[in-house]
Each structure stands twice: as C-alpha cells, then as structure tokens.
C-alpha cells in the first residue's frame, strides 16, 4: 500500500480544499474511529483547528500519564 491521501477529486474541487478534506478524513478516523478503550484516550490533538469538523468527540489534553 502506498499510503493514504486524496485518491480522486472532481476537477471543480480546488486542490487545497481536497487536501483539507483529506486531513479531516484522517481526523475523523483517528479521533472518532478505531477500537476504543473508554477513559484511556490521553494524547491530545488540541492544536488542530476543529472548526467545521463533524466529529463524535473532541480530544482533551491531559498530562496525567506523564505525571505533570
């Protein structure tokens, strides 16, 4: 497999928009998909612009595990 990215976009869709959607698709999968262990999501994605995202959850930063 070559790695994930934009596989196809309509000619009318501007490239930056397609790239942004690819990032949103990544976030949608990593942050709202996958096998979940409730109460054990620790790593933060706080500095990503989450406006316009259709996500089931927002990820909160926590330093608990690092002991800070």
């Amino acid at each position: 497999m070559n790695g994930s990215g934009t596989m196809y976009s309509s000619p009318g869709v501007p490239r930056p928009h397609a790239r942004r959607l690819t990032l949103l698709d990544l976030l949608d999968r990593l942050l709202a998909g996958g096998v979940v262990v409730h109460g054990h999501i620790t790593l933060a994605a706080a500095d990503i612009d989450l406006v316009d995202l259709d996500l089931a959850i927002l990820v909160a930063a926590t330093d608990k595990v690092a002991g800070r």
């Binding site: 596989m7 999968r29 054990h40 933060a44 990503i48």
Partner: protein, 216 residues
C-alpha cells in the same frame, strides 16, 4: 510504564518505531496481539498534526498485507497487564472484528451538489426552517442514491450526512484490496456521468470506521 496502543492483529512481530521514536513491541494474549510502544511523550513542543500522520503511518505499515483493527488515536494503557486484560475481556469482539475486515481497506467518499439548494420561502421563520431541513434531507437521500453503484463494490458501507457544508454525504466503504482500483475508477465514472455533483475520495485507510464499536 504506560503504553501507547496502535492496533490489534493476530500474529505479531515487533520491530520498527512508533511515536516519538519509541520501538514498537507486541503483547500477545490468546492468539491476538496488541502492537504498542512506550508512552514517553514528545521531546520538544507537541505537534499534534505531525503525531497524527506519524500514528497513521505506523498503523498503515502494520496493516501491510494482514488484517488489523486500528486503535483510536491516543489510546494509552497503564502497563502490559492492562493490555492483556483488554484483549481477554474483548477477545470475541476483536476476533470477529478481524474477520470482518480481513482482506479489505477503507475508502472515504464525500459527495455534494455543485449548486446549493435555493433557500425555502414561507410565511414564517419556523416554517422556512422546517422546509429547509426537509429539503436538506431529501437532497441528501437523492445524493446518496447517486452513489449506489459504489455500494455494490464494497463489503460494507457506513453513510453519514452533515447538516451543512457543500459535501454533505460522507461514505465510508470497506473494499477488498484487489477491488480498490476498480472502486476508484467507479468514482471517476460517477463524476463524469453526473455533472451536477462533486466528489472527493480519500484513502486507502486502515479500517477505522469498521472497528468494533466505531459507529456507536
């Protein structure tokens, strides 16, 4: 010593590195294997975007040619015992989950109308709002119907609708690896046949949207 979890698979070999340069290791229990690395945290300023893509690269590399269930990003467990406990507790669902995705990858397709729906006109704001919502639902269903040739090429699909935005239909497709090219060709085909819609197709992704519990 906390452990970052990346994926569940069957047989596993360690090797390669995960986030922040930590080595990947495996924890096996009852024929299933969790791929983990020590949670050490970033050396400098945390860069969430870089971490997300790094995580994705690790999961894709693990996927290679075998069945895996990706973990949600950021899953950290206290120690190896906790990882074994997780596998034991959810063994049946995880094993079934691996069967469900074996031989496939996930492809995302977003679809929208080129021309936005003209706003509804009615006597009062409440009625206008309801008419707008009805129109939105009707148009979303129409759009989803246009995508039906793609559904025929997938083992499973999961469709969501956004309340706004110009590409409001989000389809996640579980596609056999050897059908991915045919699938992409169909997306291009649909685009050419329907001048009034726009499509953006991304992937191939590991099967995040089809992991047990992912669509809750």
């Amino acid at each position: 010593m906390s452990l970052v979890l990346y994926a569940i698979t069957e047989a596993g070999e360690g090797g390669g590195s995960g986030l922040h340069g930590e080595s990947l290791r495996t924890v096996s229990e009852g024929g299933l294997t969790a791929v983990v690395s020590v949670h050490a945290g970033p050396r400098g300023t945390p860069d969430a975007a870089a971490d997300l893509w790094e995580y994705e690269r690790v999961v894709e590399r693990l996927m290679g040619a075998r069945a895996i269930l990706p973990m949600r990003f950021g899953t950290v467990l206290g120690d190896e015992q906790a990882v074994r406990g997780l596998i034991r507790e959810r063994h049946a669902a995880l094993a079934a989950g691996l069967e469900r995705v074996r031989g496939t990858v996930e492809v995302a397709v977003r679809a929208g109308w080129r021309e936005p729906e003209p706003p509804a006109r009615a006597d009062g704001p409440g009625t206008t709002y309801m008419l707008d919502r009805l129109a939105l639902h009707r148009r979303a269903r129409e759009l989803a119907d246009r995508l039906s040739p793609l559904a025929e090429m997938a083992r499973e699909i999961h469709t969501r609708f956004l309340a706004r935005g110009n590409l409001p239909v989000l389809g996640a497709y579980l596609v056999e690896r050897e059908k991915v090219t045919e699938f992409t060709d169909s997306v291009r085909d649909l685009d050419e046949r329907h001048a009034d819609i726009e499509l953006v197709c991304t992937g191939p992704w590991p099967p995040y949207s089809f992991a047990p519990g992912a669509q809750a």
